[in-house]
Subunit: 110 residues, 2 copies
Amino acid sequence: MLTKATEFDTELKELADQAKALSHPARLTILRFLAAQDTCICGEIVEALPLAQATVSRHLKVLLEAGLIDVTQRGTSSCYCVAPDAVGKLHLRLRGFFNEVEEGGRTAAC
Amino acid sequence: MLTKATEFDTELKELADQAKALSHPARLTILRFLAAQDTCICGEIVEALPLAQATVSRHLKVLLEAGLIDVTQRGTSSCYCVAPDAVGKLHLRLRGFFNEVEEGGRTAAC
DNA sequence: GTACTTAATCGAATTTATACGATACAACGA
DNA sequence: TCGTTGTATCGTATAAATTCGATTAAGTAC
């Protein structure tokens, strides 16, 4: 019937937003780094990345806003870590999306 | 030892690029739509999205460049479909990344 | 208190993404 | 051949993302 949609599906909008949080190598590097470290002090993250401190801080903020990491203060230091629940949830969501796409893909007509 | 990296890991750069292809609801909608349809004519995609034809065409180009869809010409029509291999590979890659992050997350110190 | 360290934020520059109307272009039908 | 249809691309406007130096603010050490 080809009716024009007036907006996007909410679920897909949310998934797109979280995918955006993963769409920069700095942020992927941060997530992997935090997962590999016992400690997770901001300064160490800055040292591990080829970016200025201000820029790293901004990437950390993006990850925080996406809920994928948490932060706690230790004196003047900020201690970041992976938020396992949110990461697990995103993983699940992505798996669901991919399963949907891969299922259909097998029967595509072109 | 806190050595400053001079650039990002190539694997993570590529993953970030593909995540970027997934970071817009229009593109997720297109992928899901193509997976659900037998036919996959451009015009039908345009009708399914709340966007102008030119904009949809651009999103399709992004997905093509990411390798996630293929296109074949049928007369004046363009017939798009999911590229199952590339999608499967991305799915695998993402699973690998998430497993890495979730593994470490369980032992995080903060 | 003063000096130092750590990290967030501001300000500003640059780049990239998103969007759409208009146009071009190729295939098709009359 | 001529108009129509389906898509890609161009031009352009706007918004968002990325980056970094400079500054601020808050804790620590003396």
